[in-house]
């Protein structure tokens, strides 16, 4: 029997009060019910060496077409919704740009619906919007996507569970150990407090790093609203990189 929001919200509050300030969510985060059987019980093992994971896959011009970064031009017509541009830089923990690496995005349409059979939310599909994009970062680590603002949508974690609007991001670093899959949120969304996936990042400062900033200078007159969101890839530790552990 699915529980009401107040049960989930109480669990979220209890875990927030015990936050250890970690950058990443604990894989064991009970308010996100699906995490229960999908996190390891044993501690992770630090390998004595990591030659392969300190290197990583590379991508190039053949892997991405120039149009792949514009999610509004993949069909004959224009998608419905609020046109936005999302731009930022991919950096490592030392602030160095991650160049020529792959950034992939996917998202719901303006009504909060994914073109996926398992999404049965009775909101309309948009024949002019698929919601996937990719690009390579430039020499400054920069990426840009043109898309529409995704809608919020319901899910079945608990009764009346709604995901805040978000764009899924998949990012590669120069090392496989820097791999990141995450979600970008929009500033001021009233659903933040209710969402166990965002709240799984129990440190408030860390959580803020998942929220893009509205940037009026990025908004284009008569065309689109601009958001800025920088991404900092974690690991591997500097010691590993230097010692080639």
């Amino acid at each position: 029997m699915p529980e009401p929001q107040d049960v989930i919200s109480r669990e979220i509050a209890e875990l927030a009060a015990k936050s250890d300030g970690a950058d990443h969510p604990s894989r064991d985060y009970p308010p996100y019910r699906s995490s229960g059987l999908r996190h390891p019980h044993r501690p992770l093992v630090a390998p004595p060496e990591a030659y392969a994971e300190l290197r990583g896959p590379v991508f190039g011009a053949s892997d991405v077409t120039p149009l792949d970064g514009d999610l509004t031009r993949q069909h004959l017509g224009e998608p419905l919704g609020e046109r936005i541009t999302v731009t930022g830089r991919v950096l490592d923990r030392d602030g160095r740009p991650v160049r020529n690496q792959l950034v992939e995005v996917w998202q719901a349409n303006a009504s909060g619906r994914y073109p996926h059979l398992r999404d049965q939310h009775p909101a309309p599909l948009d024949p002019n919007f698929t919601g996937t994009g990719r690009c390579l970062t430039d020499a400054y680590g920069g990426y840009t996507f043109t898309t529409i603002k995704p809608g919020a949508y319901p899910w079945k974690n608990h009764v009346n569970a709604w995901r805040p609007a978000h764009i899924h991001f998949s990012v590669f670093g120069t090392a496989f150990a820097q791999r990141l899959v995450t979600q970008m949120y929009f500033p001021g969304d009233p659903l933040f407090a209710y969402d166990p996936i965002l709240q799984s990042v129990t440190d408030e400062k860390a959580r803020e790093r998942l929220v893009a900033a509205y940037d009026h200078d990025l908004s284009q007159p008569e065309w689109s609203l601009g958001y800025r969101w920088d991404i900092v890839l974690d690991g591997p530790s500097a010691t590993w990189m230097e010692e080639g552990r």
């Binding site: 990443h24 590379v58 979600q183």
Partner: protein, 181 residues
């Protein structure tokens, strides 16, 4: 700088991340090709039908430089064109099917004797790393583990050129997952 936190890949990546030939690091009939396959299981022993696995490895000569071309695009219509049939990129990506099963075709990595694996899934808030070893070579990580834990990283030869490697996210025979700092 503090890192951007991880979030789950969720249930709906299937139309965005998998790509044509994603699991075919080498083409069918490639000399010395092997298949590695298995299931992903959750803590109740149930197969996980919505996991995404990525693979990264050295080529047969031990080179870890990698090459572009894993997800080549058709410049005419923008669809996935598949790999070029010649270049070994070192990268693979497959989603588990409705039975929780996955398979890749590759060559045994040279010098660095494992295939690095990154596991994503709905319900998993932060991806997990593990490794596929094709034999108990006495390599440093394997040597550091007790026998029952070591066994979770070693693929089982099923028949000529076919290896089985199951990933158990939680439970008694839980796969060894790595802390890469």
């Amino acid at each position: 700088m503090r890192p951007t936190p991880s979030q789950t890949v969720g249930p709906f990546y299937g139309y965005a991340l998998p790509f044509r030939d994603g699991g075919d690091l080498v083409p069918s009939g490639h000399p010395g090709a092997i298949s590695v396959h298995g299931y992903v299981y959750d803590g109740a022993g149930a197969p996980v039908p919505d996991a995404l696995l990525e693979f990264w490895q050295a080529d047969a000569a031990g080179n870890l430089d990698g090459r572009p071309g894993s997800m080549r695009r058709d410049e005419v219509d923008g669809s996935f064109a598949g790999r070029d049939g010649v270049t070994f990129t070192g990268f693979g990506r497959v989603a588990t099917d409705l039975d929780g099963h996955w398979a890749i075709r590759t060559v045994p990595p040279g010098e660095v004797p494992y295939i690095a694996v990154c596991v994503f899934a709905r319900g998993l808030l932060h991806h997990l790393y593990t490794r596929v070893y094709l034999e108990d070579s006495g390599e440093a990580l394997l040597a550091s583990l007790p026998g029952d834990r070591r066994a979770t990283l070693i693929a089982e030869p099923e028949r000529d050129g076919v290896y089985r490697f199951d990933i158990r996210i939680q439970g008694d025979a839980e796969t060894v997952f790595l802390d890469l700092g």
